[in-house]
Chain length 158, copies 3
């Protein structure tokens, strides 16, 4: 096999203004606690029996390669709302994988989080897999000059 399958996950979020979109995104990553790592974005499955841990309890190697699934949206229209949310569906059978969904929009967080939770329900339904619990996490931000929001499920090891 290639890379060891992660066995923990952490839900994180950040929102920020910046001089450019990438700077706003970078600051949102710092706020989320993953700003000094190299994030590897993946399509989004929760490994079986993965354990939820606080991101603060993890000492990521500086500049280390960290797999994650994320929602993000940025913009530079003052006054516009941006929201990003992540949802994790935990299966009843912990030998099965869970589903991670991400969604972002120019909308308030309630709307975005409702959609991303429904996406998890759908993902379990067409997998014919029983859903035990959904955890969701997100953030909303009103753009001042140039802003970004970020919500993620970070996968890691213990």
């Amino acid at each position: 096999m290639m890379v060891k399958t992660p066995n923990t996950y952490s839900l994180v979020r950040g929102a920020s203004e910046g001089r450019t979109r990438l700077n706003a995104f970078d600051k949102a990553l710092l706020q989320a606690g993953v700003g000094d790592t190299n994030l590897m974005r993946m399509s989004s499955i929760l490994p079986p029996a993965a354990e939820e841990v606080s991101v603060d309890s993890i000492q990521f190697p500086k500049g280390g390669l960290v797999p994650l699934a994320y929602a993000t949206i940025d913009g530079n229209t003052p006054g516009r709302l941006i929201s990003a949310a992540i949802a994790v569906g935990i299966p009843e059978d912990d030998r099965e994988p869970g589903v991670i969904m991400e969604f972002e929009d120019h909308a308030n967080l309630d709307n975005v989080e409702e959609i991303v939770r429904q996406m998890v329900v759908d993902g379990f339904e067409y997998r014919n897999r029983k859903l035990k619990e959904i955890k969701s996490f997100g953030i909303e931000h009103k753009i001042e000059t140039c802003g970004a929001v970020f919500a993620a499920a970070v996968l890691w090891y213990k």
Copy 2:
């Protein structure tokens, strides 16, 4: 070195409707046989002498990190056609790497597959590398409400 270089590849495809674009994509991944893994998208080179295997013969770790190259397109305009295709060029000299190309469009599959095959021809030509064979694979779908197509070369190990 970092990560072991893969030595097999599998051509896969899927098409689906879903309530959101990400759900349609997720269902297309399930149909393609890679829906319960964490896909890591990469720029697209076939390792030397990689062997083609059926995706059904692979037991991916659930939630495991799987490298691949893919074409995808989604949309929510009822009646529009979407097609995605992948092509793999095998070199005459099996000590050399091959080339993987991906293409997607609002067009029928014949057109998309013809273009992606030509892309492989071009990739070998400007590498001054002799081309033994092209394998291509793709899928077309007429959008009902919200649809996605997906065609990929999945890299793995044996």
Copy 3:
């Protein structure tokens, strides 16, 4: 841990025309010296004390998985200018990570490179980290038919 953290970096660039956008990009990768690898794009942090090496001194495994951060832009409007630049900020304290920024635009390279360097300054400022040096590298290209530019910081091992 998952994947060994890289300890070298190389600044590379390429510009090319091609029959399709992906072919133009692929040729730009070849020109940059990374065209026969599988590039894994990441968010962009320089591991502490990473050493700069020439890409020509690296023997990448053919088809191997190579982590990097990059800027790219392509287009097919004859006569338009495209530029991509990468900048790396080295911290005074070599136990801290550096910051890699990428930027691309329809503009000349001077403009793009000035912006990407400022992005590094900002990234250090809001990290409260002392900046020792910025290295930047980029490329500009006037589109003939269908062109792409690419500038990257490739991470690797020694």
